[in-house]
Each structure stands twice: as structure tokens, then as C-alpha cells.
């Protein structure tokens, strides 16, 4: 049988049509998952933009034409302040001054304040961007029929007042200043603690004990596992250790601070430090591993000690990549929400964090809080806050990636 098969002439036939068709289809089939992923990203971004810009109908309880002649946007800061001083009660002015003195507020904040406090403007109807673009005319008539005196305008929820205002009970006056400062404090503390620890651990694993000792292997395994621990468990750890066990320290009571408990910026920052530590270590390890060995040998050759070699040759050569890794760790930390909830982020904070022992809120916490509120307008504020967060993270990541590419080219 076998010889029979061998003597048969062999011809290169064409590919069977069904095989060829399958091959062609497969490319399309596999690529469709990329298309779905890209579509998902596009829809996600559009959903957020759709909510961050809306068409609103507003009503003034006090007729603004009786108080000012020109549009409110053309008024100067002093005019706005005098308008407030003339029309608000002394008590109200005192409360406002206690939050932030009027003269220290910016134009956008004052305009908003005049609208809400003097004209008592309120939003009576709000439609998302997509609806507004598609059916502007019919929505306009719909608003006018229900509220004849309503003023119709497009509103961007993300504006200067939003960035500079603190949290508020009214969605249209709410802002993210305290949340952004809280995030900045937390990530600053986290990186100050985690960066030296992370780089040191990487030096230990790559330079001193490169896969030699049992301890180094245990530490390596441990870091790999820590990287996979759900972030919420870091929050639980932070709650037990920083907030509770170290409460007297983290509340600052030992140093004369009057915080009620350990749910402070420093606890959140330390928790975040533990969370980004494995990422920092892994990135730094890769950076140190990429340093050519000839550099070390040359340094030893001229009689340098191990630490001199590390400090004067290995670290400077690895530093740019280590810093790129640090930027990526920062952007990871900025988006983390769950651990901060557990450690005790407050959701309603109108005062800037002043030190290590302040209560805190953070940008993602604010987004979470606004998303879960029943009023639809808070969803718009949440979308605006998300835009700020995404722009921040994307520019951080882009900077890291561009820097990395730049380094590769120069090598």
C-alpha cells in the first residue's frame, strides 16, 4: 500500500476553496475583537462627554434685569462682589467669608455665586449633549412650553469654577478642588515612602542577592504575589494598621493635632505606598537589569566598592527608566478608589487639606460618591470629574511612554 502511494505523482494543487475561505475569514474574525475593544473605549469616552456637556433650561427667581444692565459675564470682580454685598444678608456673607473670603475667590466662582445666591437660579431641565445636538429645536420648545420664562443655554460641567470650587450640596456649585488637592497629598506621601523603598528592594534583588540566597527568592515570590492582591485588601490592611493600630500617630494626637481618629491623609498615603510598592519594585528591577554588565565590571576593575559601583554607575544609568516606572505607579495610584474608601475617605469636604493629619477626600472618591447619588445632575458633575481624572492620567502615561521611546532611541 505504501509504495503505491509513493509512486503516485504529486501535484501542487490549489488551496481547497473552503480552506482558503476559512483563512480569509479568520483574519476578520480575530480582528473583530480588537474592533469591539476599540468601540468599547470610544463608547465609554462618548458616554462621559455626553454627560459632561448638557443643554439646560434655567429659571431666575429674582429677575436679573432689575439688578444688572449688562450680561453677567461682562461684569468685573469688584462689581460681582458689590452685587453680593448689596443683596445678601450679613449672616450669609459671614458664612461665605468663613469658607473662603470673597476677595480671594476667582471670577468664575463669583459669577456662579451671584447666579445661585442673588438671582437664585435653578436648573429646571437638563438634556445630555447627544440629545441636545440631535433635537435642539424640539427640546427648546419642550422647555419653553413647561417653563415659559426659562433661559436655555449649553452648559459645560467642566469649567474653571468646577476646578476651583469645593464640594457642595448643590450639584451646579460642586467642584473638585478639595478632591484634587487630597489626591495630590496622598500620592505625594505615597511616592515619598514607596520610591526609596522600591528602588532599595530592587537593588537588593538585582545587585546584592541576584537569585542567590533563599531570602531573595522568597522576597521575589512575595512581591509577585503582592502585585496580585486585590487593591481592596490593601485598604483593609491600612484600616487595621495605620488607622487603628497606629491611630495615635496617624491622627497626630501625639503631636498635638486634634483629628478625631486615624482616618487622615497620612494613613491614606501610607496605604497607597504599600499598594504601589510592588509595581515600583518590578519596574526598578527591570531598569537595573537593563544596565549592561560591562559598566559594573569596569567600575570594579578600577577598584570601586560594590556600593560605589551601584551609586555612581548602575543607578545613574537606570534612573530614567526607574522614573518612567514611577510615573506609571503614580498614575495607577491616582485612579485607585477602593482602598481609600476602606481607609475612610470622607465624601463631603469643603476645606483644603492643610497637613498630614487632615481628613481627606480624593478625586476618584468624589466620582464614586457623585455617581451613587440619586440626583441626575450629580452624574453630570461626576462625568466632568472623570474627564479631569482621565486627562490627568492619560497625560501622565503619555509622558512616560514618550520618555521611554526617547530613551530607547538615544541608546
Amino acid at each position: 500500500m505504501r509504495s503505491n502511494f509513493a509512486t503516485q505523482p504529486f501535484t501542487f494543487g490549489k488551496l481547497h476553496p473552503s480552506r482558503k475561505r476559512l483563512d480569509g475569514l479568520s483574519r476578520f474574525f480575530f480582528n473583530s475583537s480588537n474592533i469591539i475593544a476599540i468601540a468599547a473605549l470610544a463608547i465609554l469616552l462618548l458616554t462621559i462627554i455626553n454627560q459632561a456637556f448638557t443643554m439646560v433650561g434655567t429659571i431666575d427667581m429674582v429677575d436679573r434685569t432689575t439688578l444688572i444692565d449688562s450680561p453677567i459675564n461682562s461684569l468685573s470682580k469688584t462689581e460681582l462682589i458689590s452685587l453680593l454685598e448689596q443683596n445678601l444678608t450679613a449672616n450669609r456673607l459671614k458664612t461665605l467669608d468663613r469658607d473662603t473670603p470673597l476677595v480671594e475667590r476667582n471670577q468664575a466662582q463669583l459669577t456662579l455665586l451671584v447666579e445661585s445666591e442673588v438671582f437664585k437660579t435653578s436648573i429646571v431641565a437638563s438634556f445630555n449633549l447627544l440629545d441636545a445636538l440631535l433635537h435642539y429645536k424640539s427640546l427648546e420648545t419642550q422647555i419653553i412650553t413647561s417653563y415659559p420664562q426659562a433661559r436655555i443655554s449649553m452648559r459645560s460641567w467642566i469649567d474653571w469654577a468646577f476646578i476651583t470650587n469645593a464640594m457642595s450640596k448643590k450639584p451646579e456649585e460642586a467642584g473638585v478642588r478639595t478632591a484634587m488637592l487630597g489626591s495630590a497629598f496622598i500620592i505625594l506621601i505615597a511616592i515619598l515612602f514607596a520610591f526609596p523603598l522600591g528602588v532599595s528592594t530592587a537593588i537588593y534583588l538585582e545587585e546584592y542577592e541576584y537569585k542567590t540566597s533563599r531570602l531573595a527568592r522568597i522576597i521575589q515570590l512575595n512581591i509577585d504575589n503582592l502585585a496580585g492582591v486585590p487593591s481592596i485588601l490593601y485598604g483593609v490592611l491600612g484600616l487595621a494598621i495605620f488607622v487603628r493600630a497606629l491611630g495615635p500617630l496617624t491622627s497626630g494626637n501625639l503631636f498635638g493635632s486634634e483629628a478625631a481618629n486615624g482616618r487622615t491623609v497620612i494613613s491614606a498615603g501610607l496605604t497607597m505606598a504599600l499598594l504601589i510598592l510592588p509595581i515600583l519594585i518590578t519596574n526598578s528591577q527591570e531598569a537595573i537589569r537593563a544596565v549592561p554588565n560591562s559598566l559594573r565590571l569596569a567600575s570594579y576593575g578600577i577598584g570601586a566598592t560594590q556600593w560605589q559601583t551601584i551609586w555612581h554607575h548602575v543607578l545613574p544609568s537606570a534612573l530614567p527608566s526607574i522614573l518612567t516606572g514611577a510615573i506609571l505607579a503614580i498614575s495607577r495610584g491616582l485612579g485607585e478608589t477602593a482602598p481609600l474608601i476602606i481607609v475612610g475617605a470622607a465624601t463631603y469636604i469643603t476645606k483644603n487639606p492643610t497637613g498630614l493629619f487632615s481628613n481627606f477626600t480624593a478625586l476618584p472618591i468624589q466620582i464614586y460618591n457623585w455617581t451613587t447619588r440619586p440626583q441626575a445632575e450629580f452624574r453630570n458633575a461626576a462625568a466632568a470629574a472623570i474627564l479631569i481624572l482621565l486627562i490627568l492620567l492619560l497625560s501622565l502615561n503619555a509622558a512616560a511612554i514618550l520618555w521611554r521611546n526617547h530613551l530607547h532611541k538615544n541608546r
Partner: protein
């Protein structure tokens, strides 16, 4: 005269050198301390939890009501909804992630790789709270439109699960792509030499060769889904409920921890201790998945390097 004197190259003892080494070793121990602290705190509070009168291991693992305030501690509803959301997440993430990985590794030109990979990286870099917002404001209304408002509750596990799948997709695709990439080119060349098409080469030669790495990525993805918090906290609903209906609201393990500790939580209450017991369970589940994944991915590296 001096020139004939032998240079003394005997090892000099340097105190600073040893001191630095001690400091660096101490820094390296912090990560060990983190793990020890985690296990110690979770264990200690869990023991307190199980020594609360009325709480038994048997009740914890085999009863279906979780109501700490009235003394009912059955963790099954929380575990079940964690399983359901993770199941739907994997339903999205596995096929899409593998498809993307195969396309990028076997089909894509370097130009299209240069476009697709950064987009997947952006998807991976979006914070989970944003995905939660997306689930609540887009996915849930979409599901209610498709299946009817009476069938789909405002908070439901399906929506959270599907969006979680999108979140996990880049993890599956990038790890699987690495595994596919590690398959040596000679294997592909051999298959092409036999007259196989690209599709046949991919599915019958490259994919099986990379299987352990691919499974490793899937297992890691499951571990990520089980530990994911914000999407389920926002979109899956609050209040533990034992239900198999994915269109109903039910709280997951992580969702419960987030909700309970969101308010002002008194120390040493059953509520407080219970988050540590659930945390311990969560820790072991993810640890086991991570270890399996790590061992599998080491396996394929050993074969081809």
C-alpha cells in the same frame, strides 16, 4: 625605592559599605512585612469574628443569608454573586482577549499593531471607578432597553460583569500575546512548510504551543475579576441576596466590604470583624489563582528559552 613596594590590595573593611547593605536589606524586608501584616491582621480579626457567639464555620460556609445585624452569617450569597459577575466578565474577556492577542501576534502588520496596542493600553489604564460609572450610565440602560425594564433591575450583576470583562480584556490580551510571541518561529515555518494556512498554523500549532501561558493569563484574569471592587460596588447593587438571576441586584464580597467600611464603622463590632473574615477568604482565593498562574507561565518559559 617606593616603586618596588608591593601595592596593598588586601580587602579593606568598610563600615559604611556594610551599613548600606543592612539598610538595603531592611528596605527589602518591608514587602515581606506587608504580607505578614496582611495575613496577621486578617487572621486575628477573623478569629475574633468566628469566636463571636453564634458564628460557626459551618454556618459561614453553608447557609444562604448574610445579615450580621440579626446574627445570620452565611457567606454564600456574597460568594455566589462574586461568581456570577466574574463569570460574565470572563465570558467577555476570554474570547475577546484571546482574539485580540492572536490577531496582534499572528496576523497584524507592525503598523496596525502600533495603533491597536496603545488603545488597549489606554483601556487598561482607565480607573475602575470610571468603568463603574460606564456600567451604570451606559450598560445598564442598554440592557434594560434590550431585555425590558421589568426584567432588568437598575442595579444588576450582568451589567457589572460585562463591563468588568471589558476592563480585564487588555490583561488577557497582553499576557496571551506574550505567550504566543514566545512560541519560536521555527514551529510556524515548519507548519507553513507542510502547506498549512495561517489559520491552521495559528490554531493547530501556535495556540497549543502557547496554551500554558494562555491559561495562566486567564487564571490571573479570574483572580482580578474576583477582587475587583468599584464596578460591582457601583453597578451590581447593595444588599446581599442569594439569587442565580444575573439581572437582579446582589452584593459581592468586595462590594460588601466597600459598603460596610464606607460609613463610620465601630471597631470590634461583628460588622467590622466580618470584613476581615471576608477579606481573608478573598486573599486565599486570589493567592491560589495567582500561584497557579505563576507556575503555569513559568512552565512555558522553561520550554522555549
Amino acid at each position: 625605592m617606593d616603586i618596588y613596594q608591593p601595592v596593598n590590595i588586601k580587602k579593606k573593611r568598610r563600615i559604611s559599605e556594610s551599613l548600606i547593605r543592612v539598610l538595603i536589606t531592611a528596605a527589602a524586608m518591608v514587602s515581606i512585612l506587608t504580607t505578614l501584616g496582611l495575613v496577621y491582621e486578617l487572621g486575628k480579626e477573623s478569629i475574633l469574628f468566628f469566636s463571636t457567639p453564634g458564628v460557626t464555620l459551618r454556618e459561614f460556609f453553608f447557609t444562604t443569608t448574610w445579615q450580621p445585624s440579626i446574627g445570620q452569617f452565611g457567606i454564600l450569597p456574597l460568594v455566589l454573586s462574586t461568581l456570577i459577575t466574574s463569570f460574565f466578565a470572563m465570558l467577555v474577556a476570554i474570547p475577546l482577549g484571546l482574539g485580540a492577542a492572536i490577531y496582534l501576534s499572528e496576523y497584524a502588520t507592525s503598523r496596525s499593531r502600533g495603533i491597536i496596542k496603545p488603545i488597549l493600553e489606554i483601556l487598561a489604564g482607565i480607573p475602575t471607578v470610571v468603568y463603574g460609572y460606564f456600567a451604570l450610565t451606559f450598560m445598564t440602560p442598554l440592557l434594560r432597553l434590550i431585555f425590558g425594564e421589568s426584567n432588568v433591575q437598575i442595579y444588576n450583576m450582568l451589567s457589572a460583569g460585562l463591563v468588568m470583562g471589558i476592563m480585564i480584556l487588555p490583561l488577557v490580551s497582553s499576557m496571551s500575546e506574550d505567550a504566543l510571541h514566545a512560541v519560536p518561529g521555527s514551529l510556524r515555518d515548519a507548519a507553513y512548510g507542510l502547506g498549512a494556512t495561517r489559520f491552521e498554523t495559528t490554531t493547530q500549532v501556535v495556540f497549543p504551543a502557547a496554551l500554558s501561558g494562555i491559561i495562566s493569563s486567564i487564571i490571573l484574569a479570574i483572580s482580578r475579576a474576583v477582587g475587583e471592587t468599584m464596578i460591582v460596588a457601583i453597578a451590581a447593587g447593595s444588599g446581599p441576596k442569594f439569587t442565580f438571576n444575573p439581572m437582579a441586584a446582589a452584593e459581592t464580597m468586595t462590594g460588601y466590604i466597600a459598603r460596610i467600611s464606607g460609613g463610620d464603622l465601630g471597631y470590634d463590632t461583628p460588622d467590622y470583624n466580618s470584613i476581615f473574615a471576608i477579606g481573608l477568604l478573598l486573599f486565599f482565593i486570589t493567592l491560589i489563582f495567582n500561584l497557579i498562574s505563576r507556575n503555569l507561565s513559568r512552565k512555558y518559559r522553561e520550554v522555549y528559552e
